[in-house]
């Protein structure tokens, strides 16, 4: 299977275009696909058949939704072991999830909730991340989520991620749209956030569209093309931290595959300018 390298472009695998992907041996412009392991584990039938065929044609990256690394309940180790088996079965090297919580003392909430980013929480989180990395036999890569709630006295997000990566060796999945959305909603400096991120810990990038509400608040919806401002930010990321595999997320109002490929081409064209700047810097 082809390796996933910096500059490679990918899409999140969606049921809307699985069949189109399977019509040809490999679609030009798609270097890899991202899947949520939870949506495929212990699933048979047509879906499993599709995944098996997709896995024979494209390298896969796993992007989880349910790890809940930041909650305060005991780590769900049976679940993490199942993830390990799935990653092994499909020869998936990159396993990412979100720096968030999805569970409380009652149970799972099925969403990504922000956790308090305080220095005194770092050791606890680093310990849980190490546990996951031990079980999966892989680096855990964590994404900066879009968050619409904050806690008093938090560290800046970039500094928190950098400190966490330094303590436990986790990787960072930089979601460029989330960084933009958070900075706009919080009134913070997105460039300061980017500058705090440790380049060597960045494993891959996400980019997506968002929705602007009437009051100016931005919602990370994955339901629109990438906004120009986010494209420009992506170019800066590319220039600052260098190329990485880049994944376009589209989970709502999913257009036809050729439209998505057009969006991906547009992003890639903008990023090449950033790459030139990175090379010349």
């Amino acid at each position: 299977m082809r390796p996933i390298t910096p500059g490679h472009r990918g899409l999140g695998l969606r049921p809307e275009f699985v069949d189109t992907l399977l019509e040809t041996p490999a679609v030009d412009g798609v270097d890899f696909l991202e899947i949520a392991p939870e949506n495929w584990m212990h699933v048979g039938g047509r879906k499993r058949d599709q995944l098996d065929r997709i896995a024979g044609r494209y390298p896969l990256v796993a992007h989880g939704l349910s790890l809940s690394i930041g909650d305060t309940q005991p780590l769900n180790t049976p679940f993490v072991r199942e993830v390990r088996r799935f990653l092994d079965d499909y020869h998936i090297d990159i396993y990412s999830d979100h720096l968030s919580a999805s569970r409380d003392g009652t149970g799972y909430l099925y969403d990504l909730l922000p956790i308090p980013r305080r220095a005194e929480n770092l050791d606890y989180l680093a310990g849980r991340i190490r546990q996951v990395q031990d079980i999966t036999g892989r680096q855990l890569v964590l994404e900066n989520i879009s968050a619409y709630h904050g806690y008093p006295g938090e560290m800046p997000e970039g500094a928190f991620l950098a400190e966490l990566a330094g303590r436990c060796g986790c990787g960072i999945l930089l979601d460029i749209n989330n960084a933009y959305v958070n900075a706009r909603n919080r009134g913070t400096d997105v460039r300061a956030f980017l500058a705090e991120l440790p380049t060597q810990a960045l494993v891959y990038y996400h980019i997506a569209g968002h929705l602007e509400l009437g009051d100016g608040m931005l919602l990370d919806t994955h339901g629109t093309p990438v906004a120009d401002a986010v494209m420009r930010l992506a170019r800066e990321v590319w220039a600052t931290h260098g190329p990485r595999p880049l994944l376009l997320e589209r989970d709502n109002f999913v257009p036809a595959l050729d439209v998505l490929l057009g969006d991906l081409d547009a992003v890639a064209a903008v990023l090449r300018e950033g790459e030139d700047r990175h090379v010349h810097a």
Partner: protein
């Protein structure tokens, strides 16, 4: 192997618990909405007939109660459907017929994604087994008319059906006769058996021609599979 050095810092646990509770109860408006939309979307996609029959206000109330009260144990988003069925059963939230409709759609979904492999038609083997994705259900309505209005309120006796996925991934619903039920139960309990053994076991209840008819029909539609092994094939 790393082990957690200690539990979470008390303030972190306290803040997170409070925030999650606020989100569950809708006191943090945006997160309250997001949680409810996620569940509603999962239910609309998994249980389209149930959602249609239940009504939007009742559904909103049920989702609200689910998020506020239900201790969901399964982390995967596609298990929201299962968690909701458990919640509805425990809470006796629904009328018996709506419960039956919900369980029926759950059984369809479960058969569709069951991880078991189904042997293709024409596979070699002397033993007969039940399709490993089969669910046997009693339904108080005709599933072929489940999409028609009023199914949740119509009268009628419960009748047995088998829901299962075929080797080419179609989900079928097969009405079962009394004779079919006898055959299915024998095969299911044994794991897999030779037709001769089945004939011997059912000799008091079924004539050989009736048994042959039931077996032939089950094999033709995919309810039964053949296997070379006496205790089923590995899934």
């Amino acid at each position: 192997m790393s082990t957690p050095d200690a539990g979470p810092p008390p303030l972190m646990a306290e803040e997170l618990a409070a925030f999650c509770q606020d989100a569950r109860r809708g006191r943090v408006r945006l997160y309250g909405q997001l949680l409810r939309e996620n569940i509603a979307e999962a239910l609309r996609s998994s249980f389209p007939l149930f959602v249609q029959r239940f009504g939007s206000v009742a559904l909103e109330d049920a989702i609200d109660a689910f998020i506020t009260l239900h201790p969901a144990l399964r982390p995967q988003f596609h298990h929201i459907a299962t968690e909701f069925v458990v919640f509805a059963q425990r809470g006796r939230l629904l009328s018996p017929r709506l419960t039956a409709l919900l369980e029926y759609e759950w059984a369809l979904l479960a058969a569709e994604i069951d991880p078991a492999r189904v042997s293709p038609e024409g596979a070699a083997g002397a033993y007969i087994r039940l399709n490993p994705t089969a669910r046997l259900v009693l339904l108080p309505f005709d599933p072929s008319a489940a999409a028609e209005p009023g199914v949740e309120g119509a009268g009628g006796d419960e009748r047995p059906y088998a829901l299962f996925r075929t080797a080419d991934h179609r989900v079928l619903i097969q009405p079962l006769t009394f004779q079919d039920c006898l055959v299915v139960e024998q095969i299911r309990d044994a794991g897999a058996m030779l037709p001769e053994t089945l004939t011997d076991l059912l000799v008091a209840d079924l004539s050989p021609p009736d048994l042959q008819t039931s077996l032939a029909h089950g094999l033709a539609c995919g309810l039964f599979c053949v296997t070379p092994e006496p205790i089923g094939e590995p899934s």
